[in-house]
Symmetry: C2
Subunit: 460 residues, 2 copies
Amino acid sequence: MSKKPGALSIEETALFTDLYELTMAQSYLQQRMFASATFSLFVRQSRVNRPYLVAAGLEDVLHYLEEFSVSPDAIDYLHSTGIFADDFLDYLKDLRFTGKARAIPEGRIYFYDEPVLEITAPIIEAQIVETLAINQINLQSVIATKASRCFWAAQGRAVVDFSLRRTHGVDAGMKAARSSYMVGFQSTSNVLAGKTYGIPVSGTMAHAYVTSFEREIESFRAFAKSFPETSVFLLDTYDTIAGVTKAAVVANEMETQGHRLRGVRLDSGDLLELSRRVRQTLDEAGLNYVLILVSGGLDEFEVERLVQAGAPIDGFGVGTRMGVSGDAPWLDMAYKLVRYDGRPVLKLSTGKVSLADEKQVFRLRDSEQRLRGDVIGLADEPLPEPGAEALLEIFMEEGGLIRPLPSLDELRGRFQRDFVALDDRFKGLKKANKYPVRLSRNLRRLQKTLEREAEETEIA
Amino acid sequence: MSKKPGALSIEETALFTDLYELTMAQSYLQQRMFASATFSLFVRQSRVNRPYLVAAGLEDVLHYLEEFSVSPDAIDYLHSTGIFADDFLDYLKDLRFTGKARAIPEGRIYFYDEPVLEITAPIIEAQIVETLAINQINLQSVIATKASRCFWAAQGRAVVDFSLRRTHGVDAGMKAARSSYMVGFQSTSNVLAGKTYGIPVSGTMAHAYVTSFEREIESFRAFAKSFPETSVFLLDTYDTIAGVTKAAVVANEMETQGHRLRGVRLDSGDLLELSRRVRQTLDEAGLNYVLILVSGGLDEFEVERLVQAGAPIDGFGVGTRMGVSGDAPWLDMAYKLVRYDGRPVLKLSTGKVSLADEKQVFRLRDSEQRLRGDVIGLADEPLPEPGAEALLEIFMEEGGLIRPLPSLDELRGRFQRDFVALDDRFKGLKKANKYPVRLSRNLRRLQKTLEREAEETEIA
């Protein structure tokens, strides 16, 4: 795979990690701890307003795992810190990821406490990739989930990713475009994401364009000349209502030349009221085909408000608040050791107890194939009922991908199938029912036993 | 300059942009608009709780400007979209950034409405770099500002960047380390940032390390063996109080071998109460030299609470909430055309009026050199009073850097100088006085004239 913009190079991957992954690795080595370890990646329930989550980011993690190695340059740097022993630095030279990865595929809906990724490998390998795995899957799940809420709020109207300028840097800008497209956005303003991921690109014009002309109406005429079939005029540089009057004049001029104005964009003010007045002005000028797009600080709540009020809006440009997931910029995602050397393990930290052992998530459906509830169980236990679906699939064995990864368009279809099957009452933007997720009897029993044991041996 | 991890390659830079930058550029070209344009980058006042801002991100933008070009590959992609005319695609082949950049240097404190960067160039060049300039300076200002609040809350205790796993991707992870170090953090857990920026790296151990051993105390012994002088034991895997008892046992064992436990880390529960009990246990075991570090969902408010309560804490590991600026993950940063072809311009959009023309920010000080207030004026107006300091400096002319950029350590010193000179009443974490920023009489007068003109010609 060629490196994506903003991604790490092979030489950089191994050092994109918290220092403690490497100090722990040295200690594992010096203790001769080479047994197999399984780590679970999951999201802890917290107070964020996200009733469901969308899996995203796996593709990057799998490619990083495949290509993992520690470059001579990286080893030189580690040596220079004075922290590491020579035997460990030698050991790093040949270190590769040779393990297994099971995961809930990208584009699927998942819930709190469910392992979205489980990695099984000799403990050094499985430990050392923690930071990278969380970094990528957390970011992309955060954005895919937020974007899915905007998509849903629009109720079939077009939603476009306008977030690039305020996403957190290069990688986030690329992932915001990919993640939002995965969950139903129509296009992105991010040209590099268009090239990289094959996402349709779209855009309008900026205030700077308008103000670079001495008169607003001349800017519209000039843009129409360059883009006679695809122009979208920005109306609010001076005043939206004055702007639409001029836009209508130019649109009528375009008609006489056999062209059509595609749309207008509103970017400030009371978008409900303004969209109504703009629609009326356009319609009165015989321009009922001209689309109305809106932007400016939108999120799922504002989109829902406008849609429910019946605003005559054809499309929403959603930017910053989606691209940084403004009201919930992170999930409490953790990567915990759940099994080592055949022994299931857990931690008991206050408020952060983890679920032991290799696991599977089983999804139950009703007779109409709607999602009815999930069961978190042990990886090797039988289906909780006939027809239940096991969500974690094997993607990697012995450090290599065991099948081709799906295209972004396939992921888009997969998300839609899950999303349609999830009842509306579990999607409410402000308030939602809690989707039923329970632990299997086997997992519950194991968990109880281990908690009791740990309390007896470590605390009592 | 060699490419930093997570940065764009030269080939990618030109397409890391919103589509409309390129469609506007085509139209400028087709209108033969090659005159000089000045754009101002500034932060609009919004309801976020940030009484001051820290300038950061300029270095990246300057390097991107220096290297800006459109690769043949990028042009092929643009051609494939069917959006662009051949004359424009031809024109892009030789396009470089040939303009001027004036900016408030990184590490300095600035305020709302003040231009932190002004770019002057032929309008196509100045327009096309908008997205990238906002993307980098917004992200880094957001994080530097948030991190400075954490640094200040700690009142001299060590603060360490633990954010890598939940920053928004690769670039953000690197920039969080750099920005937080710039404003006084002691070190970072991000090893690649250590290598890239020369920031000290530090770390402790994870719960996985503890649970990979059959008994917690054995994990402490093993780690101490690998790191006899630099070990920091994590105490809360099962129970913090039980944990510190074991840590004390191992620390005393280490003493008999001539070593010293460096510290312990608390990561959950009531950190105030636990830190007191842990300190007591350690002291009673003669371990008063063992440091107490805490982590787990910290931000400036929690750090301030712990410090003000006199918690016996020596250092704070601040992660997610700093690295994503949890309570304010973006600033309302905009890049507006302020002058074109010798004509100052502005926009009047509801709630988003921009300040016209090329500008300068003047800083006034009192007799003790404390910051007294800023004046936003025109670039060519005289100092508002003797001794006033002009904050924007010229960094680039004719597309080339005109002087070497300062090192990160120099930026660190620069921030400290500004921060010390900013009175505490302007730094309050929950509530702060508004620092006085006014417009010069010349700018006010120009602004009024232009607003009146625009109202007359465009709205009335």
